[in-house]
């Protein structure tokens, strides 16, 4: 009785160790899937236009987050932040097609 239980536990443990790492891997990949675009957005907001197109996305050599913010709030004569954000969105979305 106890011997059979022991073998069963042993046989159940081996795939469980594998299963545990597979589960963690799948969850980790889905976390990367949801987080990386957000991370890209944050990194891209700190780049000027040339650096966005040319340099490595992870390099922080052309750090121009402050300049981007200044441009954002100065856009269209400095109207409300919401309005400028919307205007900025439409301009940005038009830009890839312009290339």
């Amino acid at each position: 009785m106890s011997a059979s239980t022991a073998t069963r536990t042993a046989s159940a443990l081996r795939p469980r160790l594998l299963g545990r790492s597979v589960v963690n891997l799948v969850v980790f990949i889905s976390v990367l899937y949801t987080l990386l675009p957000v991370l890209w957005l944050v990194l891209a907001s700190a780049k000027n236009r040339d650096a966005l197109f040319s340099s490595n996305i992870l390099s922080l050599s052309d750090f121009s987050f402050v300049q981007n913010m200044k441009d954002l709030f100065a856009m269209d004569g400095g109207c409300t932040a919401a309005g400028t954000a919307t205007a900025c969105c439409t301009r940005c979305s038009a830009r890839p097609s312009a290339r």
Binding site: R20, V26, T34, C92
Partner: protein
Amino acid sequence: MTSATPVSVPTDAPARPSPKSPAAAAPAPTARRSARRRELGACGILMTPFFVLLTTVFLIPAGTAVYLSFFSDDQPGLGFGPERTVFAGLRNYTAVLADPTFLGGLGTVALYCLIYIPLMVIGALALALLLDSGVVRLRGTVQLALFLPHAVPGIIAALIWLYLYTPGISPVIDLLGRADITVDFLGVHMVLPSIVNIALWSNLGYNMVVFYAALQAVPREVIEASVVDGAGPVRTALQVKAPLVRSSIVMVAMFTLIFALQLFTEPMLLSQSTPMISSRFSPSMYIYDAAFTRNNYGLAAASSVILLLCTIALSYGVTRWTNRADAAEEGAR
């Protein structure tokens, strides 16, 4: 039904619990009538906000759309006369239903639903089951990370992915290019999967949370019983937990269907950078185009009513089908 109280209740006493003692209630029919009136008044006051909101945000706009759909603008005198609104009967409806771009849009949305809804429901349920299995490290952090895209507004989400689909900026295309894979995410075959990906990214975490909350309510005894009966973790998840959260699966599928039928934001933004998305790509974009580009409000209203009817019919069909499946399951037991 069994009564738990040892004292037998007299038959003439009120069945429902009443704050008034029987002695006080007996002699005054006028008092009872005033209480009844007060009850009705409370009902009215409590239900008024609901009906006010229902009327102002649903009935009046929907009624206006139905009304508008029977009229069209007409310019007599070869288009030089003053514009006037004339009754058009069902002419707008026949025009919409005979328009191949509208039917094409409906077909696109049907295909989109066929790809998107199964992916969403299965993906969110699988993630919730994995998180519920108890072997995932840092569960709280993982849940927060998965839920984060839902906090990103839809337009911003579409914008991020538009950049990630654009060659030259996108690190994704860059990486794939290093592995000698060239994918045109905005090409003719990939544009619909690309839109599905944006919607999936935005809503996966939210639906995962819905499923996870439902899984928390699964009684522990049932899971223990299945483990005692020799079911492994996979079998427990698929054959015990998943059937027990069936009602939330139906709910998520229904909400996903309703939102999928209104497909608008993602193709509208992507259409600015790919010729594969026309200005009448989906029914919602057709309505937008009819109302704000062609200024044909009658046509826009008629196509809105048709889209609304399609949505109602599909939701009703899903509800009926799941109810019948439930009843069949109950009968089989």
